[in-house]
Symmetry: C2
DNA sequence: GTCTATATTATGATAGAC
DNA sequence: GTCTATCATAATATAGAC
């Protein structure tokens, strides 16, 4: 935390008369808004250009704030980046946990089908997430280490368990479940990361809602298999 | 072309005594070597960091040359980038054309199987190619337009025709052939672009030769289907 | 919290000696 | 073709007024 920010927090903790308190709250609201704007702008910039390619100035410009406010709110460039990753991956994990919680009791094959459908739709709606990971996950380095150590939780176990269960039911293609999960990630998400090229070759945007659904359907046809008939 | 380079070429065209000619040839050889070193270094840098993230100085450092030689040999930053793309995509297209030429007369299903196998092996051996495209193909912009207009040839038609033929033989999953090609590209290549994360989650490098072959096998299991029995 | 101003380093690009 | 030196701009980051 920057010193000035810490001081402001301390001033708030101390007793303040009513009028001053209102002003403090107004300022806090504006601060929170600025911070959010910067965070969203930084998400887009880091997704598009990667850590090196993005600049605090372009982030500030996109967020419509003065460039030094980016550093003020997040201390360093790596600080903004970490905040972006925490926010993006946190949101992603939460979305899946809530989805899975809603599917309690559903059989694993259906469950896997449904969260894979969600995954495809999310890849179309939030390709930034794929880009953010993509820029880091390709080469060893401090940032991917940080992601692995502080943000990558036990999400993969859930996918693995569901795939194993679907395989045991004879409903999913055979093979190492986590390997298959990465095949799925590639098949499901890559087309949205190549959207400009795809648009030229296919003659339509992969983000077109109808296409997204068709895409999800075909992806599932690749991985799911008809289970053997019982008796 | 830089003026100094044009002058050197002119001097070469003029008559020169034997000793001087040898020196000119030595210089040309060194120049060509420098250019090649820069091109290879630039390929790695652009693949890793994208156009904005890479710098002419980091390219020069990697190539072990003085930083201004990068500009001398390629005029501008976009000039180096274009040379990299021409070289990388040219090599890629040539490799496939030669492979296909060698497969003249082979039935389309086998042909598709074999060039897909090559594609997977190439993605493992040269992930730079996927990165170079990846950094540009995600968003509209001058560079992807340049790629589409000057480098993207008729390669996609070949893939489409082979996929259609394999579908007609009942040996390939149904669906829009070019859409399926992008699904294949994602399934085949994405795992190598996430190598650092994959290594952590799977416990082994996706570049491991045995894994590459297993990966290629599973990818084909996703897309190829048993054709209906005859008679 | 925000704004102006500034320090410092990195970057793309050029000029001129050899 | 390469090397030294340099320029102009853009980058990360900080200091201090309000």
């Amino acid at each position: 935390m920057p010193e000035s920010k810490a001081k402001a927090a301390a001033a708030q903790d101390a007793g303040l008369e009513a009028g001053a308190l209102v002003n403090v709250r107004k300022r806090q609201a504006r601060s929170a808004e600025t911070r959010t704007n910067i965070l969203n702008a930084a998400t887009q910039e880091f997704a598009e250009f990667g850590f090196n390619g993005a600049s605090t100035r372009s982030i500030a410009k996109r967020a419509n704030v003065l460039h030094n406010l980016v550093i003020y709110h997040f201390e360093t460039k790596i600080g903004i980046w970490q905040a972006v990753m925490r926010h993006a991956l946190g949101w992603y994990h939460q979305a899946f946990e809530e989805r899975l919680a809603g599917l309690r009791g559903v059989d694993p094959v259906t469950k896997l089908r449904l969260i894979q459908l969600d995954f495809v739709r999310m890849a179309a709606e939030h390709p930034e997430l794929h880009w953010l990971m993509s820029h880091e996950a390709g080469q060893r380095g401090e940032r991917i280490e940080w992601i692995i150590n502080t943000l990558l939780g036990s999400g993969f176990e859930t996918w693995r368990d569901l795939i194993v269960a679907a395989q045991e039911a004879g409903a999913y293609v055979k093979g190492d479940p986590l390997h298959l999960h990465y095949l799925f990630i590639g098949a499901a998400g890559r087309i949205f990361m190549l959207s400009a090229e795809v648009e030229h070759v296919l003659g339509k945007s992969p983000f077109d809602p109808d296409f997204v659904e068709e895409h999800a359907r075909v992806v599932q046809e690749l991985f799911f298999r008809d289970p053997p008939r019982k008796s």
